[in-house]
Symmetry: C7
Subunit: 94 residues, 7 copies
């Protein structure tokens, strides 16, 4: 597994059928293309002014993030993304 | 529902008939196109110097924001915007 | 009415006849075009290093600001501008 | 009169005859064109890290500043400049 | 040996056969090309706000970093990279 | 005389014969053209985080600085430069 | 001799025969051309948040730095470079 550094988060982008179930529609024509995913791993948080800033997302959260953010990685045939928490816009609540 | 991260805010842009009722007119020809909306969800605030900064807007507020700010999201057929609080210019008071 | 956020200020730009009375002349040929206005509403101030910075202008002040700053808004047929306090150069004293 | 905000200063640029008397010659061919002036009004200082920084110049000081800095204003037929203190390079001492 | 300064890290990029064993696949077609490596030496950490920030990686860690980060150095016929810790995205855990 | 503000320094660039005596040769073909000079006046230091930072150079120091830094001023027929201390690279010690 | 200011360091670039002896090879074809040198003089350190940051390198250290960093100076026919410590990547240990 991957253990992200600082304020990074590992996210599994949702498949089309999973997205439809969530009731959220992220238009392809949007200015800043948003995408939905599930949080797989969370870093310890970045430092600000010598203090660690607690992360807001946790493993299992459904999140919306910008489509163009992060780095693609494939682990055990699963496509994942490593993002900074600041690239995550919102948590989708059930 | 969406739970925005940090200093982000979820806003529902106002329809034309709602805008007319508010008595505020936001010209299309303005340099920085402003738009009116209603606050639907508010993040916990961003960190500055290791301290969380309290948000100034709250759910239900009518706000003016820049037309080109934020990310469009469609939840349950409702078009919403995820903005940073710094993209909101003013609260419209009744 | 508008309640500006952070260090924003709502200003009503002065009409030509009001300007002449003030004895201040702001040349159209200046490099950074200055403009005169009256402060209509004042935000609570921005945060710096976790502390709120007190605003220097107050409602009723006559101020000089850069012509190209801010966002135009029309409220009850009155043209207003939403500026940041840092776009205001000086207060005109009587 | 003008009361400058933050770390701004109102300066009256010196006339040619006044400049000659000061013994300072500011070449027109210099890379960063310097200019000489008299301080007319001084702001309360800017905030840094939540504390106000005291101004170094005072009313009556003869100063050297960059020719391309600031905003031109005409008050009672007198041409003035509103500058930031950081645009002032040095005080001319008698 | 090399002793990196501040928040720098010396990394040995993995050979093709080593990568296959780790089960992680880093696509060449990715937007930000990621690469896998082993940490060989770790700096003492950078200063922030007058305090040293502890490093998150240690010697022996398998890490993922951006292909275009850092400076190539050849020591005793071994190709190494000197990176900043912020160029490392995640630690690969066994 | 000139009293520089903040972290500014007034420097008298050395003449060719003075330079030769110092044993330092600053090549015209260098990437960042360095120049030698004598410190004539020193500002009180800039503020950082609300505290004044003590100046490292003092009147009489021989210094090396970037040729393209600063503003040229002519006082009593003497060509001087107003620089920031950060434009000074090193003090030449006897 | 030169006494560097703030976080600057005076470095003597190594000759070809000295480099071969160190066992480190810095390829000319590298993206960010690295170079090897010996530290000749060290500044007192820069200020951060009002506190001086201790230097990590000391006189006599063998260091690797970016070829395009710093300012060339010739003292007593010896070619030297004035760099910032942040341009030094690593210390070469014996």
């Amino acid at each position: 597994m991957l253990k992200p550094l600082a304020d990074r988060v590992v996210v599994r982008p949702l498949e089309r059928e999973e997205k439809t179930a969530s009731g959220i529609f992220l238009p392809d024509t949007a200015k800043e293309k948003p995408q939905e995913g599930e949080v797989i791993a969370v870093g310890p948080g970045r430092y600000e002014d010598g203090k660690r800033i607690e992360m807001e997302v946790k493993v299992g959260d459904r999140v919306i993030f910008s489509k163009y953010a992060g780095t693609e990685v494939k682990v055990d045939n699963q496509e994942l993304l490593i993002l900074r928490e600041s690239d995550i816009l919102a948590i989708v609540q059930k």
